[in-house]
Amino acid sequence: MKLQALIDELTEDLAPVRPRRLWADVAIMTLIAVLELALLFAVGVAHLDMHRMLTQPTMGWRIVSLGLIAVLSGFTAIRSVEPAYSARGPLRWLVLLIAVCVVSGMFMGAMPRDLAGVIRALDWPSGVDCAAKIILLSIAPLAALAVLCRRGAPTDLRRTPLLMGLAAAAWGAFVFVFACPFNDPLYIVVWYGVGGGAVTLVARLVLPRVARW
């Protein structure tokens, strides 16, 4: 088909569209995230002794770190479905932020000195359970981001899925903080890392197929 014929057909097919609004997408994602958090409290799986938990330094560290990572990566992920947006720089800053959060957590508690102490601190049956719950809590934000991705026009099919996975995982972990009974920084870094890493990996592998256009 000649270019002119295609132009004629596309013109014939033209219908008014409402331009995508960044803030509308941000509002939708915020609503979904807040609803998930509210649901956690509504079903009663959040800590019963929340006042006491909030006074612990590791709780503050978890809330601030995961909240920051979730908000910043979520905003960048939403922006990255614009064709002309480059996520390269913001992604580097996010990696740096994650590293700072992990390192700062390591200073919050005494590290075990021997292998037996590490194994005890990791408590793998509970850890696997925590990681699984983080994955579960990441599904809703990841699905919402995948829909945004499909509707948008991302041109970087490596970084956009990575950012989306990171944002969904960070939000899942942030919500889980309010139900997680563990405080040991090593346990948190390892098992939250496993849960979040799995979500990010799945997003990196699956979302490019959804996002291709």
Partner: protein, 181 residues
């Protein structure tokens, strides 16, 4: 690139102004042909320009009127260019076998069978669009009516379906020419 001028035309197109849209597509089409003529073999330029126009059409809601049009278009053109390069890299140039010139009814039947099998592995919307337009000879418009899809969607389905079909055919031929066990 006439950024502001094209941006204004796109904003008008988003509200349904067909005249502005036609003008935009004509100007963008000629810019795309010049863009791809420096980056792709001449036989691929027209197809690449058409693919971008289809993408501009399908993703026109993602253009933010507050932003310049040029970078938006350039990002789409570059994305599609990389896609093409990847396809070029993946496609294998093979010498045609001599037997290909021999008329053989059995071969034709077998080819039709293989084609049907490959079509069966595509998404139904893509397979139906290819069957109607490429095998049964219907026009895009007729196929769109029959399938209940928009014209641009039929084109996209044909385009993507053919690309996938070619990848599947390559996969099949690799398997068939693999070492004997």
């Amino acid at each position: 690139m006439a950024d502001d001028h094209w941006g204004a035309l796109m904003v008008a197109a988003q509200t349904g102004d067909a005249a502005a849209y036609r003008r935009l597509l004509i100007e963008v089409g000629s810019w795309l042909q010049s863009y791809y003529s420096r980056r792709l073999p001449s036989s691929m330029v027209e197809d690449a320009a058409q693919e971008v126009l289809l993408s501009v059409h399908a993703k026109r809601h993602t253009y933010d009127p507050a932003q310049p049009f040029g970078p938006w278009l350039a990002a789409i053109a570059r994305y599609k260019w990389i896609d093409r390069l990847r396809a070029l890299k993946d496609s294998v140039t093979e010498e045609l076998p001599e037997e290909l010139a021999v008329r053989d009814h059995g071969e034709a039947v077998q080819t039709a069978h293989v084609l049907e099998m490959l079509l069966g592995r595509l998404r139904p919307a893509q397979a139906s669009a290819i069957r109607l337009v490429k095998l049964e000879g219907l026009s895009i418009k007729e196929a769109a009516e029959q399938l209940g899809q928009t014209i641009s969607l039929v084109k996209v389905n044909i385009h993507r379906g053919l690309r996938e079909l070619s990848a599947l055919a390559q996969e099949e031929s690799h398997e068939a020419s693999g070492p004997d066990r």
